[in-house]
Assembly symmetry: C2
Homo-oligomer: 394 residues x 2
């Protein structure tokens, strides 16, 4: 049977994303979880099981390593609480595991919280600095995230021609959407010129091509689809959810079959999720998407990897406004990682909520005007090593 079509999301909550210096990890978990409970009309004591997605416990805070980091702030003692970590796919994989448990009938309800506290450290305490200190075999050689994705941008430009201006257009689009979003980390527009003139991080990736590091938490409550109407009329159904680990983390750049023009993990996860949801023509059938724009080049190759357009057509896809808020397939209407921010464990859950909000007509000034039947959320983690794709429908 499996989980496709079996699970409904009946409650959603999230914190403001940003420099949440005034909120602890626990504060954010409580705010997101209670937002979801309130949305579903449930009390915390109604919840029989929970999943927590936090990627880098101990790197930034002392919280997040185990289920207790969800049980403790909520006072939800005696519950089974699992902690999942899977790079940037962490939040969605926590959701995926909760779906299995509810689908098999072990629980009727589950709470899923994604949370990451990334801003309470000085630069020398950053993830990269810590990894270098521990002798990380890749970071020590300078292979950081911007450096790795810059290789993709350069390879893409070499194969298909200049991509720098198209990358800037992704930044402009996502900042435009984020400016409409009161929960986004950055809520201001940027211009093409600002993006092109921003300080260079890793050629051709400039500062405004990069998503920020961010504090934030997001939560959903799920039940079996057949039970959803007991709780609310405002629910969405998970039509497909698939994870793929398609590349090694430490040997990523040595994989002989990697062309640096996209990410196999995304393609595999999308193909599986599409099969589950009965999607054969992604561009025609998907109405809105949140995709993993950790860097602007990533969003462009995501269009291609997700089958929204063909290889090399990502530049036209952004440049012709297809992915704009009023385009044929609006992408990152929330502002995306670029503008919303990227608290790693939280992002996957947050993206699912933003797609659900579009389906339910709750996206406010970012609401897409056309009717939304099916939406997609996508995360990509490690050096393109892990991807999760979720398809949501009414």
């Amino acid at each position: 049977m499996g989980i496709a079509g079996e699970i409904a999301i009946i409650g959603m909550g999230k914190t403001k994303f940003g420099d949440n210096f005034e909120k602890s990890y626990f504060d954010m978990v409580v705010e997101a979880a209670h937002g979801a409970l309130e949305d579903a009309g449930l009390d915390a004591l109604d919840i029989p099981a929970a999943w927590l997605g936090t990627c880098y416990a101990y790197a930034y805070t002392t919280e997040g390593n185990a289920g207790t980091s969800l049980a403790e702030p909520l006072g939800l003692y005696d519950l089974p609480v699992t902690r999942v970590a899977n790079y940037c796919a962490t939040g969605m994989d926590a959701l995926r595991n909760a779906c299995f448990a509810v689908a098999c009938g072990e629980y009727d309800l589950a709470l899923v919280v994604g949370a990451e506290k990334m801003r309470d450290v000085p630069p020398r305490g950053s993830l990269v600095a810590q990894h270098v200190e521990k002798g990380h075999p890749l970071y020590c050689k300078g292979r950081t995230a911007p450096g790795m994705f810059a290789l993709v941008a350069n390879r893409y430009a070499d194969k298909y021609g200049d991509v720098k201006e198209a990358m800037a257009k992704v930044s402009v689009k996502n900042h435009h959407n984020g400016a409409l979003n009161p929960k986004a980390h950055f809520q201001r527009e940027v211009t093409i010129e600002q993006v092109l003139r921003a300080p260079m991080v890793a050629e051709p990736i400039g500062l405004l091509d990069c998503c920020p590091t961010t504090d934030g938490a997001a939560a959903v409550i799920i039940t079996r689809a057949e039970l959803a109407k007991r709780y609310t009329d405002d629910f969405v159904v998970i039509r497909g959810i698939a994870l793929s680990a398609s590349l090694g983390y430490f040997s990523a750049q040595f994989q002989p079959d990697w062309d640096f023009l996209g990410f196999r993990a995304t393609r595999v996860a999308a193909q599986r999720a599409y099969e589950q949801a009965g999607i054969t023509q992604p561009f025609d059938q998907i109405d809105v998407a949140e995709v993993h724009d950790c860097f602007t080049i990533t969003e462009i190759v995501n269009y291609e990897d997700l089958g929204f357009c063909g290889p090399g057509e990502g530049v036209a896809f952004i440049s012709e406004g297809v992915s704009a808020l009023d385009g044929a397939l609006p992408v990152n209407t929330s502002g995306g990682l670029k503008s919303y921010g990227h608290p790693i464990g939280a992002s996957g859950v947050r993206m699912v909520i933003d797609v659900a909000d579009q389906i339910l007509g709750r996206a406010g000034p970012r609401q897409v005007k056309k009717p939304i039947d099916l939406g997609l959320a996508h995360t990509l983690g490690g050096p393109g090593a892990v991807s999760c794709v979720v398809i949501l429908g009414g």
Copy 2:
């Protein structure tokens, strides 16, 4: 429906536990996983999904943070691989999540690997040292694991009378069993006198009351019980599996209702697992058990928390030989954490394998002489905060 009775373990593998300086984290993952595959008569490419249990990624090694740490060493690319972390319940909770996915029909098979590499660091790189360096709110105040469990031992002695000699008997019993186990970290007997005269770590816990830190990996392959006979005749069925987060990690010692005489997490997890398995009289119905003897006092309170005997009767339980290899309810026939060692993410999976081996009559010189119908495996993590209990049967 749920998972109780629905899942069978059809393949098992594990490395030698110990100072595996000659084996990397990846080496151990490969050895354990391929042991399980060979045992099940399967090829790695037969596996559609996997779960990895590693508790402290980055604390000891750079591996273990995500599903890629299983996909990469096995070359199992394109698979969904989830990493779970839940203190000492990590390995069992990885198994539990895999059970949900197989029970709901998403996959027919799943590979579960628990692994931890703990010995490749100098003492100043130990977990406690690293936590102190990061400003861990409890470790900085000296509340280490031996210190915390010493509070339990002292409270127990205050309430029920001297427990130090009974603790020593747990060490003697588990070293005796471990001496029969070629995969145990320590394979030698100790005497009561040696345990009582060992250097004091945290009064009354001496060096030979403590389990060691250890390298190791263990793996199982599961399928739905109805499919098990396709693969092998040597399988066991999971009759119950339950997790509980019953205490906060950071506020553990401030919980007003904690009497320090046992662990609520164990009691809650056991109660749920017993209900699933139809167990009403644990002592009468369970034939063999692997329990979490991180310290000898922990095994004694486990007897009580698991309902093997009443409150305060744990001392008699060990002293009268009830839990000995030839006793009425043999406990830690493998040698336990005390002698087998405790690679955190691996232990839960390893314990399940040792109980399964007893049920299948494969425990060699440690095989219990009486027939074994039902066995129990139990982990307890954090400061008694998280527990998982698994009931296995034929």
